[in-house]
Amino acid sequence: MLHNLCKYRHFSRAFLSLAGRQIETSGSSTHVQRAKYGSAAQERKKFYEDVTISQGEDGRFEINLDKRKLRTPGGKLFTLPNEALAIAVATEWDAQKDTLKFYTMHLTTLCYTALDNPTQRSKDQMISAALKYLDTDTICYRVEEPPGLVELQKNEWDPVMDWIEKRYNVVIGSSSSIMGPKIPEETKETFYQHLNSYNFWSLTGLEYVITQLKSLVLSFGLIDRHLTVEHAVLLSQLEEEYQIQRWGNVEWAHDYDMYEMRSRTAAGALFVHLSSESSMVKKKLMQD
């Protein structure tokens, strides 16, 4: 169910940009200009051999497929803020064989989203969308039965909750009522201030991570490097994990979903880390 939701989200993003196509009226004829978003399931033949990166005049990095410059579905030049991200994206294109499998190219997709901003949102709107997840954060909602799962949630989720409450000096709390805990306004304010320090690209990545994990707390745990991707995904799927332990693992459903979620979450986290300038500065300072 959750998995379907996030699939829907994935599609809806592409769909929104289709719906938001611009209609240009020039002279007597009306042109419909639509972004070239293919369906996620569609595969395209590989039309290039060499993938290289080059640096434009403004210092941003570009991806070249043979001699052609990569463009976004919206038609913009595909430019990236730093070399690390450019190499990671180039590797995705380089790894394709025979057909292009866009559904495995998460970093490229994230860059498209950040560059085209298909839903035309401002930074402020993205922050409030991210904060909204706090009200229904996965790890705030606890069960009352069965006892095994109650204990598992307590043992696995409480340490992360303690960590975030200390790290940001906030109160979140958890609840077993259907309404969830009441999150204090100060907590939201603190997180708002914190999210406001992110740039647009990092927020795009962070939002992607949040929608995968269905939890702001776990996402911060991952982005602040308190959790690994594997651990964050596990904590996000705790109930499913409990059922698997009880009823057995089904490779083509459970593992399939888990690997997909891991790769998407990892792509989102990497995107945040690589597109936040400050970490690059730190690395440079270290080298001196």
């Binding site: 190499i87 495995t104 083509w252 399939y256 891991r262 970490s279 080298q287």
Partner: protein
């Protein structure tokens, strides 16, 4: 928390080899990862924040590469070939379809 840097580094190279075959040493990613790893290699005592961040990021990248590969493998195995026949589906969960001696009656 995260695995030892050298292990992560080796595992990333392995993933790159799986992606690109024998010529993986000529890829941009290979050069970049190797260069970064050497730069961030500091003596044991200087365990600092920047290094820990680099290890976490490399671990995340490794997770991206390996889970994408494993996801694709499962996709190819189970979901990439259209719908399965009833016999195959039953076989997957260890069952067999009953056979009807003398046909089911509706065949000509």
């Amino acid at each position: 928390m995260a695995a030892a840097p050298l292990r992560v580094y080796r595992a990333i190279l392995k993933e790159l080899r799986l992606l690109k075959g024998p010529q993986y040493k000529h890829t941009m990613a290979y050069n970049y990862v190797t260069e970064q790893f050497r730069k961030n290699q500091v003596s044991g005592e200087r365990y600092c924040r920047a290094q820990r961040e680099a290890v976490h990021t490399s671990h995340t990248y490794l997770c991206l590469l390996s889970s994408t590969r494993q996801h694709m493998e499962l996709h190819r195995l189970y979901h990439g070939r259209g719908e399965c026949s009833p016999e195959e589906t039953a076989g997957r969960v260890g069952l067999r379809l009953p056979s009807q001696p003398g046909g089911k009656g509706w065949e000509n």
